[in-house]
Symmetry: C2
Subunit: 214 residues, 2 copies
DNA sequence: ATAGATATAGTCGTTTTCGACTAGACGATC
DNA sequence: GATCGTCTAGTCGAAAACGACTATATCTAT
């Protein structure tokens, strides 16, 4: 069912989705995605787009329809989706909605080694994260409201932003709790954590002392 | 503050974290990460590890300490962290804990184009996702309990799994709600969504009809 | 005693991905 | 009419990441 995709960059899914509606040239794909806010959910870089388009064409999932030229602007190739492309798009979409995929986040990497910092500093940094997350969340909220009202987009077309929002909110709540537990010392493992770092500090102080009084 | 890292793969953070404790050779890094479950939060491939180690050495964040050989096994280079490496590790760690980073998930990409499937099918796929998520969550829970009891690891050292768990739970709750709203038709935009697909179906039926009765 | 499985310890070539750069068109502004 | 910034529309080379593959050692069950 979920055999390896020949073109696996999610941007390829977006390209096929757009061409499913109507033929376009690459630059138009970019502007359309931007208009609809899809660049918030699918990483979009020109350099990746052109190579993804090439790869899709190589696999015969899309095909060039015509080459147009306006004035002295560079030529633009208009692409359309093929039958195989439609199938691949739907199959991929089904897989993405159905099967959870393990993702590695930057924050999880940081959390994995949090014990490398002294607890007080960690709590402070996480406290700052709480503030930053609060800001991002309220910005996202007003952004969603704005877009929904201004362009009369139904919730359905902004569903991925809602998903992102609830994940951020869940993280916020969790980090708040974590900070509290570090601050009041109820997190399991706190004593060892403090000990390690106070010993490190003592060692540093002694080393400094020795250098000053040899 | 958050200037571009010379080596940006989170695996490099893990390598520095390990060498912060004591010198090791690459293969030992892998086994240590596996033992501690860090391969669940930091993507770990041999092929990436060796190039990350090379890059770290190039940047003088780590350095070879000795080359040992046991029997006929290939030589193993033992690396240690440098002063610059310690600094880079701490600075990076601080940044990761403090600053939320925008991440692009596969599921968000799928959600972005959910309207490409008919609502009934989408609801069914998401329902299946709910079941799969439930399974993953209960597995994670028992896995955390098991590891914590068997190795007496305090919660602090499993904190990144807890983070992953609460994110999965939040997604589960949200997807459950979404399925309900699609099924009972209360999701805003449902009528257009249904219309588009019933028209597509009609068109398909007509095309088929014409081919059969030319 | 030995076949087969698992653990150890990587290498290699290809494909992806990205960041930096280019370059004309067009409108506004001084 | 020179210049400044922004929009349109990409190209290019380097770096990163991955999957597939290799090869020996050691354990284990028959």
């Amino acid at each position: 069912m979920s055999s390896k995709r020949k073109v696996s960059n999610p941007l390829a899914l977006a390209v096929m989705a757009l061409l499913y509606e109507r033929p376009m040239h690459p630059y138009e794909m970019v502007s359309t995605m931007r208009e609809r806010g899809k660049h918030e959910s699918v990483r979009l870089r020109y350099s990746s787009l052109y190579s993804v388009v090439d790869a899709l064409q190589r696999e015969a999932l899309i095909e060039p329809r015509e080459v147009v030229r306006e004035g002295k602007r560079p030529e633009r190739t208009v692409y359309g989706i093929t039958g195989a492309g439609r199938e691949e798009f739907l199959d991929w979409l089904r897989e993405l909605l159905r099967e959870p995929v393990k993702e590695y986040t930057q924050f999880a990497a940081g959390l994995s080694f949090i014990a490398g910092l002294p607890p007080d500093e960690a709590a402070e940094l996480l406290g700052e994260r709480v503030r930053l997350l609060e800001g991002e969340i309220s910005e996202m909220r007003s952004h969603i409201d704005e877009v929904a009202k201004q362009f009369e987009l139904p919730r359905l077309l902004l569903i991925e932003s809602e998903h992102e929002l609830i994940l951020k909110e869940a993280e916020l709540e969790w980090v708040r709790g974590l900070v509290r537990e570090i601050e009041d010392g109820t997190l399991e493992g706190m004593s060892q954590w403090r000990e390690i770092h106070s010993e490190l500090e003592k060692a540093r102080a002694e080393a400094l002392d020795e250098r000053e009084n040899p």
